[in-house]
C-alpha cells in the first residue's frame, strides 16, 4: 500500500482515532461477543418465517406443477424469470466492488466489499433457485442442462441461451464464492486467534486453512486475490450479458434488441449498488459501524448508482426510440403497448422509480444523508424488479398474432415464492453477520493511520 498520506482530501474512509487493535476488536466483537442486538433476532425470525413460506411454496410446486403460478400461453415466463434476473443483477454490485474496484485501486471499497460479496453469493443462490424450479420437470432439468457423458450420447443444445446461462451463472457463483472465501482467510485466522471457545477455535481454524500470516502467505494471498479479481472482472460483464441473451436471442418484440447486453449490465450494477446501500445503511446503524462505513462510502455508492441509473435511462429511451424509428410494426406496437396497454402502470412506475427518483442523487445533501439515500435505494430496488416485469411480461403478453394475446396475473404462489427468496436472502445474510466478520478486518487495518507509517506493514 501507498505509504504516503491518503490522497483523498474529502471525508475520511475511516473515522480518526482507530488503531489496529480497535479495528480488530470492533469488527470481531460482532461475531465473538455472542451478544446480538434485538433487531438481529427480529430480522432473522422474519427471514426464517419467510424461508418456511418459500419451502411450502416450492413443495406445493413440486407436488402440483408450475400451473400453480400465473404463467400461461402466451406468457410462458413469469415471476420466476423476473426474480431470477433481478437477483442475478443484485449480485453484480458485489463482484464489481470486490474485483473491479480492487483493480482500479479504489481504496474505499475496503469497508464494503466483504458484505457486498456475501450479498452477491446469497443473491446468486436466490437467483439460481428460479431457473431450476420454473421448469416443468425440475428433477430432470437439474442435470439435463449440464453436459454430462451418458450412454445415449445426448448433449444439451448449445445454441440455446439457456445453456449459456447455466454456464455463466454456475461459473459466476463458483468464482464469487472462491473470491469471497479467499478474502476471508486472514480474517478467519484472526477469529481463530481471538475466539475463546474451543469449538469456535477449531471451526475457524479449519476454515482458515492454516493461515499464519507469514510473508509467504501474504505474498500468495496477494497473488491469488489479484488473479481472482482478474477472473471476476469479465464475469461482471459477461454474466448479465448472457442473461440478457435469454431475451435478446428470442424473436419476441421487446426482447430482440442489440442494446440488451450493455443495458442489462448497467441495470445490474444499478440494482446491485442500490441493494448494497439498502443493506449498508441499516447495518452501520445497528452495529455502530459508522466509523468504518463512512459518509464517503455512501456518497461514492450513490454516485455509482446515479451513473448507472443514467445509463439505464438511456437504455429505456433508446428502446422507445428504436421501437418507433425501426418502422417495424411489431416493435412499434410493443413499446406503445408498454406505455398505454393494460400494463401501463408498471411501465410508468418503472420510469418513476428508475429514471426520476435517482435524479435526487445529483444533490449532495441527499447523497450524504442516510435516510433519503436509503429511500432512493429502496425505490430503485423496486424499479429494477419492475423493469424485469415489464421486459418479461409486457413483451410476451402481446406478441405477433392478436389472436393469441393474453394477460398474466401472478398468483398467491408467485408472491410466496418471491417473498420467500427475500426471506432466504435475509436469513443467509444475517447468519453471515453472526458468523463471519462483515467488514474485512485486515483490509480495514490497512486503512488505519498506523498502516501508513513508514515501514509499517500493509496488513
Amino acid at each position: 500500500m501507498d505509504p504516503k498520506p491518503a490522497t483523498y482530501p474529502a471525508a475520511p474512509l475511516i473515522e480518526p482515532g482507530h488503531t489496529f487493535g480497535s479495528i480488530t476488536d470492533k469488527i470481531s466483537a460482532v461475531v465473538l461477543s455472542g451478544r446480538q442486538p434485538i433487531s438481529w433476532f427480529v430480522v432473522l425470525s422474519i427471514g426464517l418465517l419467510l424461508c418456511g413460506m418459500l419451502g411450502m411454496a416450492i413443495t406445493w410446486l413440486l407436488i402440483k406443477g408450475t400451473g400453480i403460478w400465473g404463467i400461461n400461453i402466451p406468457v410462458g415466463w413469469g415471476f420466476a424469470i423476473i426474480n431470477f434476473v433481478w437477483w442475478i443483477g443484485i449480485g453484480h454490485a458485489g463482484t464489481l466492488i470486490s474485483a473491479i474496484l480492487l483493480l482500479l485501486k479504489q481504496g474505499w471499497r475496503t469497508s464494503i466489499n466483504r458484505f457486498a460479496e456475501a450479498m452477491t453469493i446469497f443473491a446468486v443462490m436466490c437467483a439460481g433457485l428460479f431457473p431450476l424450479i420454473h421448469t416443468g420437470r425440475p428433477w430432470l432439468a437439474a442435470y439435463w442442462l449440464f453436459p454430462y457423458p451418458n450412454t445415449m450420447s445426448i448433449w444439451p443444445q448449445f445454441r440455446s441461451p439457456l445453456i449459456w446461462d447455466v454456464f455463466a451463472v454456475s461459473t459466476y457463483f463458483t468464482v464469487s464464492l472462491l473470491f469471497w472465501y479467499v478474502g476471508l482467510i486472514p480474517d478467519l485466522a484472526t477469529l481463530r486467534d481471538k475466539a475463546k471457545h474451543r469449538g469456535l477455535r477449531i471451526a475457524y481454524g479449519m476454515l482458515s486453512l492454516g493461515w499464519r500470516g507469514s510473508a509467504r502467505h501474504w505474498q500468495r494471498y496477494e497473488h491469488i486475490y489479484l488473479l481472482l479479481a482478474g477472473l471476476s472482472t469479465p464475469l461482471v460483464l459477461s454474466v448479465h450479458t448472457v442473461v440478457s441473451f435469454d431475451f435478446a436471442i428470442g424473436i419476441v418484440p421487446g426482447w430482440h434488441a442489440t442494446i440488451f447486453p450493455p443495458y442489462f449490465v448497467a441495470g445490474a450494477i444499478y440494482a446491485g449498488f442500490a441493494m448494497v446501500l439498502t443493506l449498508a445503511i441499516p447495518l452501520r446503524k445497528i452495529y455502530g459501524l459508522e466509523d468504518f462505513i463512512t459518509m464517503r462510502h455512501l456518497e461514492n455508492m450513490a454516485k455509482v448508482t446515479l451513473l448507472t441509473g443514467l445509463i439505464v435511462a438511456y437504455g429505456y429511451m433508446s428502446e422507445a426510440f428504436f421501437g418507433f424509428y425501426s418502422a417495424n410494426k411489431y416493435e412499434g406496437f410493443m413499446i406503445w403497448n408498454r406505455m398505454t396497454g393494460p400494463y401501463w402502470p408498471y411501465y410508468w412506475t418503472l420510469v418513476f422509480c428508475n429514471i426520476l427518483t435517482p435524479q435526487w442523487l445529483w444533490i449532495k445533501r441527499v447523497r450524504t444523508s442516510p435516510l433519503p439515500l436509503f429511500m432512493v435505494a429502496m425505490v430503485v430496488n423496486c424499479g429494477m424488479w419492475l423493469e424485469r416485469f415489464v421486459i418479461v411480461i409486457t413483451s410476451l403478453h402481446r406478441d405477433f398474432l392478436p389472436s393469441s394475446w393474453g394477460m398474466y396475473y401472478p398468483t398467491m404462489w408467485d408472491w410466496m415464492t418471491f417473498v420467500g427468496t427475500l426471506g432466504l436472502f435475509i436469513t443467509l445474510f444475517f447468519l453471515f453477520i453472526r458468523a463471519l466478520p462483515m467488514i474485512s478486518i485486515f483490509e480495514m487495518r490497512s486503512m488505519a493511520p498506523e498502516a501508513r507509517m513508514p515501514g509499517g506493514k500493509g496488513h
Binding site: 416443468g136 419476441v252 398474432l401
Partner: protein, 1046 residues
C-alpha cells in the same frame, strides 16, 4: 408391535385366519385407521369444493369401477395368447368399421377406428353421400360420450337399481290393462325418427294397440321446414350447392348445422375453390339475425332481426317475381335493405337455374314457403334444389305434438308414457309445464343415455345404449340407410330403442337388436317390407340376404335407399306407417292443406315483432353442446364456440350498439325477463349481431346430467334458456327486457378479435385477384432466404407440408376436435382455459373487420392455426435440451421424454401454437377413459410441452406400409386428423418434394402466403388467401375495395 395382542387374537381365532401384516393381526386401532384412510390424499381432496376438473379426476375412478362391477360379473383373469388369431386382427393395427351416429334423428355416417376391440376415433365415411369422408364436431365427440363414466348405467325404478327382466314384468302388467282399451292410455314420446326398423315396430305396436299415440319432440326441430313441406304436399327440399352460383341464405346456417351440413359444406366449398387457372367462385348472400358460420363465410351479409327476415323474404320474392307476395313486403325496414333486395334479385335473375334460396330451420313456415316459391320462379327446381318425400318417419310439427301430449297428460288420459331419448322436462317450452304434468302419468318410462332431468321424474329409467354399442338403422338427410353395427359390447346395461320397443310387441319379445334389425332387412331385401329396391353398386340384386347384410355393414350404407325425386324407398317407408291404419295419430293440429304458393300470412311471431316494445329474443341451440345433450362431453364444452371463442359457458349475444345503449360490457351478467320468466346469462358483445336483438343459447343450466355438464351452482342453473321459451314463439319473439345483474367470469380462448393491421388473414375480393393475382404476396414481405447464420437443412426424401384454404374454411372447428380425439389431448376445464392454458393443437382464430356499429358491414375471418413446422423454427434454437428438433423430413418434432419444460420454445414461437402441461391435465385416473386413447400417441404428463406434429403417427404408419411394399408414400395416403375431418376440404397435406402432389400445387398458387413470413420462419403450413366474390353493387365504396381493419 403388541405381541400379546397378537397372541391373544390368534388364540381366540377359529378356523383359518388370514392376515396380511402383523398390524392387521394385532387389529390395532392404528391399523384400522390406516385401512380407513388408505387414500388419505384423495380423502382430503373431497373437501376441496373448487375445480370441476379436479372433481372429475377424483370421482371418476371410483364411479367407473362401480359401473363395471354393476353390469357384468368379473371375468376370470387368465391371460391367453391368440392361438388362432381372429381374422383381420393384427395387434397394433387398427380396424375400421362403418356405422352411423344419429344426430337429430339423422345419420351421420362414420367409420370408427378400433384398436384391439376398443373404438378410439371417428372418421367420416368417404363412400357415403352424406359425409364424403368428413364429420362434424358432434360426430367426432361421440367417442367420448361412449366412454363417459357418467352415462346411465343400470335400469332404475324410483331410484333403485333393477334388472331388465323386472322392467319387462312391470311393463307387461301395465300393457295388460291397456289391451282392454286398445291402448288408449299408451303414449310414446320420441325424438325425430328415421329408422325403418323402428318405424315398423311402431306400426306393429299400433296394430296391437290401435288407440296408442305417438308424439315427437326435439327442441331443435325443423318445424318451419316441415310445415312448409306439408303445405306443399309433403316433399322436403334437398339443396345442391355444387350446382349453385348464387345462393341466398335467409337466416339459414346451412354450413354450420342441420343434418345435411357436412354435405352442403363439401358442395359449397367445391364451388368456391379458386385456382389461378379457375378464377370463379359462387356468391353467397346471407341475410341473417344471429351471426353464424354461414354468415361469416358469406360474400355479403345483411344483419336483420329474426322477425324482419320474413319481410325481407317477401320483398325478395316480389322482386324475383314469384307471386304477389311483394304487397306484404312493407316491413323491409329502413336502411339499405331495399338496395339489397334489388341487387340480390338482379343477381338471382341473372343466374336462373344456377341460384338457390334457402330458408333457415328456425324461421317460420312462411319463409320456407317463400323460399320454395322463389326457387320455383328462378327455375332452380331440379337443378340446385330437388324435392323428395320426407326421410323422417311420420314427420310432424313437433311443438304441436308435444302440446297435444301435455293436454292428454293434463286430462289424465296418459296411463303409460314411454319417453325415448328426449328430455322434455328440461327442453319443453316453459308454458307447457311438462314436469308438473308428468306427475299425472301412472307409469312413466324414460329411455336415455344419461340420468337427466326427465329421468328424475319418471318411474322407470332405462339406460340407452350408445350408437357404437348398438345394432340399428338410421337414414341420412338424403335418405340413404346406414345399418349401424356395434363396435363394442355395451359398457353398461344399455339397450337400444329397438330392444325397448320389442317389449311392446309380442312377436318380438326377447329378441336382440341384432336379430330385429337383421330380420327387418332380410325381409326388406326380399322386397317384403318398406318397398325398398335394394341393389349393389352395379345395380344388381344381391344373391342372398346374407350377402346383402355383409355388404351393407361393410359399406356403411344400403345402396339405392336414397330418396331422390323418383325414389320409392322413402315415401313408402313412412307411407307404410300411414297405410297401416289411420293410426299413430298424426298429431299435427293444422291439418288444412295449403296452397304451395306463398300465402301472405302473418305469422304469430312476426306480428308480435311489430307490436310490443323491448328487445327481440332469438333462441338458438348452443353451437357445441346443442340443446344440452352434449353438456357432459368435455371435448365439446371446451371447444371454443364459433365467433365468440367462449368455452364452458353460454352467453347472450348482443350488438355493439345495443350494448352501448344498455350500458353493458362483455361478461356482464344480465337478467333476462321475457313473458314473465327470467333467466340469467353472461353477455357477449358480438359485432355483426343485429341491433335491439338478443340471441340466447339452449343447453346450459342442466340440473342433472353428470359431473361435467351439471350446473355447478345456483347461478349457473339460471343459465337455462329453456326457461324463457314459450310454445307460441319457439325461435324468436319480442318483449325481452334485460338488466345488468353483476359480473361473470367467461373463459375465452381468444380475447382479441381485431387484426391490428397485421394481416394474419389476407383477404381480398375476387375482382382484386383477377386484376392483380399478386395482391396477396404484396400484403406482406418475404425476407431473403439467405438471411440466416445457420446452414439450411438438406432433405433427401419427403418434405411434408400443409396448405389451408381460407376461402373455403368455414371456421366450424371440426379440425380442432378431430385433433383432440386423434392426439389424446386432455380437457383442462374452465378455470384453466380462463388462465390461458387450453391445450388444442389446432385452433381456429377469428377476426372481425368493419364498423362495429354497423352490423351489416362486419366481415368475419376464420383461420385454423396448427403448428407451422417452420423451416427455420425459432423454437428449435432455444430449447436447452434439444427436445424440439428438426426431422429429416422437415417436421419440427417434439420429444416429450426429453422435455424439461422451460417453455422458452413457446415464448419464442410467434404463432403461439405450443401447449404446455402446466398441471397434470391428462386424466390418469378415470379407467373408463383408458380405452378411448389412441395407442399410437403418447399420453403426456405434466411439465411437458406439446404441439401439432402433422399427425406424425399417421405419417409413420404410412411409411411402414410403403416400405413393406418397397415404394414411396403416395400423395393423399397420409391425411392428418384435421384434414380428414374437414367438411370443406380446406386443409391439404402432402409431400412438398413431389411436384405433382396436391399440396405442392396449392402452394404454387398466387394466393399462397405464409403467416408472419416476414420473420423468416419459413413456415411449412401456408395459407391461401380468403377471397370474397363481392357484388359491386353492394360494396360500400364502389371501385376501390377498401379493407377496413381495426
Amino acid at each position: 408391535m403388541d405381541f400379546s395382542a397378537i397372541r391373544s387374537r390368534l388364540a381366540g381365532a377359529e378356523g383359518r385366519l388370514y392376515w396380511r401384516s402383523l398390524g392387521e393381526l394385532a387389529d390395532t386401532p392404528q391399523f384400522r385407521e390406516y385401512l380407513h384412510r388408505e387414500f388419505p390424499e384423495q380423502a382430503s381432496e373431497w373437501n376441496d369444493p373448487k375445480g370441476r376438473r379436479q372433481f372429475l379426476k377424483l370421482m371418476s375412478a371410483s364411479l367407473a369401477l362401480a359401473g363395471v362391477s354393476a353390469c357384468t360379473k368379473q371375468p376370470p383373469e387368465k391371460i391367453i395368447p391368440y392361438v388362432r388369431q381372429p381374422e383381420d386382427m393384427v395387434p397394433g393395427k387398427p380396424l375400421f368399421f362403418a356405422t352411423a351416429v344419429p344426430f337429430g334423428g339423422y345419420a351421420q355416417p362414420v367409420l370408427v377406428e378400433s384398436h384391439e376391440g376398443h373404438p378410439t376415433k371417428v372418421e367420416g365415411n368417404p363412400e357415403h353421400p352424406a359425409s364424403l369422408g368428413a364429420t362434424d364436431i358432434f360426430g367426432q365427440a361421440a367417442i367420448l360420450t361412449l366412454y363417459d363414466p357418467d352415462r346411465a348405467q343400470s335400469v332404475m325404478n324410483r331410484g333403485e337399481i333393477r334388472v331388465w327382466g323386472e322392467f319387462l314384468t312391470a311393463i307387461k302388467s301395465a300393457l295388460g290393462a291397456q289391451r282392454g282399451k286398445q291402448g288408449a292410455g299408451l303414449h310414446f314420446l320420441t325424438e325425430t325418427i328415421t329408422s325403418p326398423t323402428l318405424a315398423e315396430q311402431i306400426t306393429l305396436i299400433q296394430q296391437a294397440y290401435p288407440q296408442a299415440k305417438w308424439y315427437q319432440w326435439d327442441p331443435v326441430a325443423r318445424d318451419g321446414a316441415r310445415s312448409a313441406a306439408r303445405q306443399a304436399g309433403g316433399a322436403e327440399a334437398t339443396h345442391h350447392f355444387d350446382k349453385a352460383d348464387v345462393i341466398v341464405a335467409l337466416d339459414s346456417d346451412f354450413l354450420g348445422c342441420g343434418p345435411a351440413a357436412i354435405r352442403y359444406c363439401k358442395d359449397f366449398a367445391a364451388r368456391r375453390r379458386v385456382a389461378d387457372d379457375k378464377k370463379e367462385m359462387n356468391r353467397l348472400y346471407a341475410v341473417e339475425s344471429t351471426p353464424t358460420l354461414t354468415g361469416a363465410r358469406a360474400d355479403h351479409r345483411l344483419a336483420l332481426r329474426a322477425s324482419e327476415i320474413e319481410g325481407f323474404a317477401r320483398a325478395l320474392a316480389g322482386a324475383v317475381g314469384s307471386g304477389g307476395a311483394a304487397a306484404a313486403g312493407t316491413s323491409v325496414s329502413g336502411r339499405d335493405a331495399q338496395k339489397w333486395v334489388a341487387s340480390i334479385a338482379k343477381d338471382l335473375q341473372a343466374h336462373r337455374g344456377r341460384s338457390l334460396v334457402i330458408a333457415g330451420d328456425y324461421q317460420p313456415a312462411a319463409v320456407h314457403t317463400l323460399a320454395r316459391a322463389m326457387n320455383q320462379a328462378l327455375g332452380n327446381v331440379g337443378t340446385t334444389i330437388t324435392y323428395a318425400p320426407a326421410v323422417e318417419v311420420n314427420a310432424m310439427e313437433q311443438l304441436a305434438s308435444l302440446r297435444e301430449l301435455v293436454q292428454a297428460m293434463d286430462a289424465g288420459q296418459v296411463d303409460v308414457l314411454v319417453i325415448m331419448g328426449s328430455n322434455p322436462v328440461f327442453t319443453a317450452p316453459v308454458d307447457l309445464k311438462f314436469q308438473e304434468r308428468l306427475g299425472k302419468v301412472g307409469f312413466s318410462v324414460h329411455h336415455s343415455q344419461f340420468f337427466d332431468e326427465t329421468s328424475a321424474y319418471c318411474h322407470w329409467n332405462l339406460p340407452e345404449a350408445h350408437a357404437f354399442e348398438s345394432w340399428g338403422d338410421v337414414r341420412s338427410f338424403e335418405g340413404t340407410v346406414t345399418i349401424m353395427q356395434p363396435l363394442i359390447a355395451p359398457l353398461y346395461d344399455g339397450r337400444t330403442a329397438t330392444e325397448l320397443l320389442a317389449a311392446f310387441i309380442d312377436a318380438q319379445n326377447g329378441k336382440s337388436a341384432h336379430d330385429l334389425v337383421k330380420e327387418y332387412w332380410t325381409r326388406a331385401h326380399g322386397g317384403k317390407v318398406g318397398g325398398w329396391t335394394i341393389t349393389d353398386a352395379n345395380g344388381q340384386a344381391f344373391a342372398t340376404p346374407d350377402a346383402f347384410w355383409k355388404h351393407a355393414l361393410h359399406d356403411g350404407f344400403v345402396t339405392g335407399t336414397a330418396s331422390g325425386p323418383g325414389a320409392r324407398g322413402a315415401g313408402s317407408a313412412s307411407g307404410a306407417v300411414a297405410a297401416s291404419g289411420a293410426s299413430i295419430a298424426p298429431t299435427t293440429p293444422e291439418s288444412a292443406p295449403r296452397t304451395p304458393n306463398p300465402a301472405p300470412r302473418q305469422d304469430a311471431s312476426a306480428s308480435e315483432a311489430s307490436g310490443s316494445g323491448g328487445l327481440e329474443i332469438i333462441f338458438r341451440p348452443d353451437p357445441t353442446i346443442w340443446d344440452g345433450r352434449f353438456a357432459n362431453n368435455g371435448w365439446l364444452q371446451e371447444l371454443p364456440k364459433p365467433i365468440t371463442k367462449i368455452t364452458w359457458d353460454p352467453a347472450a349475444w348482443i350488438s355493439v350498439r345495443t350494448a352501448q345503449e344498455k350500458g353493458l360490457n362483455d361478461a356482464d351478467l344480465v337478467e333476462l325477463r321475457y313473458r314473465g320468466n327470467t333467466a340469467k346469462l353472461p353477455v357477449a358483445i358480438v359485432p355483426g349481431h343485429p341491433d335491439n336483438s338478443v340471441t340466447v343459447f339452449f343447453g346450459y343450466g342442466r340440473q342433472r346430467i353428470g359431473r361435467v355438464g351439471q350446473a355447478a351452482d345456483d347461478q349457473a342453473k339460471q343459465f337455462d334458456v329453456f326457461r324463457l321459451r314459450t310454445s307460441d314463439a319457439p325461435w324468436f319473439g319480442n318483449g325481452l327486457e334485460i338488466s345488468k345483474a353483476g359480473r361473470y367470469v367467461i373463459a375465452r380462448t381468444q380475447e382479441h378479435h381485431l387484426m391490428e393491421g397485421r394481416h394474419p388473414v389476407r383477404t381480398g375480393t375476387l375482382k382484386e385477384y383477377e386484376e392483380n393475382p399478386k395482391f396477396v404476396a404484396e400484403m406482406g414481405e418475404t425476407p431473403p432466404r439467405a438471411l440466416s447464420l445457420i446452414p439450411a437443412w438438406e432433405y433427401n426424401s419427403y418434405r411434408w407440408g400443409m396448405a389451408i384454404d381460407l376461402s373455403t374454411c368455414t371456421g366450424c372447428s371440426t379440425c380442432t376436435i378431430a385433433c383432440v380425439a386423434e392426439n389424446n389431448i386432455p380437457v383442462v376445464g374452465k378455470d384453466q382455459v380462463n388462465r390461458g392454458r387450453e391445450m388444442h393443437w389446432i385452433r381456429v382464430d377469428h377476426y372481425f373487420s368493419g364498423n362495429p356499429l354497423e352490423p351489416s358491414s362486419i366481415e368475419t375471418h376464420h383461420q385454423p392455426v396448427p403448428c407451422m413446422q417452420c423451416e427455420t423454427a425459432p423454437c428449435e434454437l432455444v430449447c436447452p435440451v434439444g427436445a424440439t428438433t428438426h426431422s429429416a423430413e422437415g417436421l419440427n418434432d417434439m420429444v416429450y421424454n426429453r422435455c424439461v419444460g422451460t417453455r422458452y420454445c413457446s415464448n419464442n414461437c410467434p404463432y403461439k401454437v405450443r401447449r404446455f402441461n402446466f398441471l397434470l391435465y391428462s386424466d390418469w385416473n378415470t379407467e373408463s377413459l383408458y380405452p378411448l386413447r389412441n395407442p399410437d400417441v403418447t399420453v403426456r404428463s405434466r411439465g411437458v410441452m406439446e404441439k401439432c406434429t402433422y399427425c406424425v403417427q399417421r405419417i409413420n404408419f404410412a411409411r411402414i406400409e410403403a416400405k413393406k411394399q418397397d415404394r414411396r408414400i403416395q400423395d393423399g395416403e397420409i391425411i392428418p386428423a384435421c384434414a380428414q375431418a374437414c367438411p370443406a376440404d380446406a386443409i391439404v397435406f402432402g409431400d412438398l418434394s413431389d411436384p405433382n402432389s396436391a399440396v405442392t400445387r396449392l402452394k404454387a398458387q398466387q394466393r399462397n402466403y405464409g403467416l408472419l413470413e416476414e420473420l423468416n420462419t419459413r413456415p411449412r403450413t401456408t395459407y391461401l388467401a380468403a377471397l370474397r366474390n363481392a357484388n359491386p353493387e353492394l360494396e360500400p365504396s364502389s371501385g376501390t375495395a377498401s379493407r377496413t381493419e381495426h
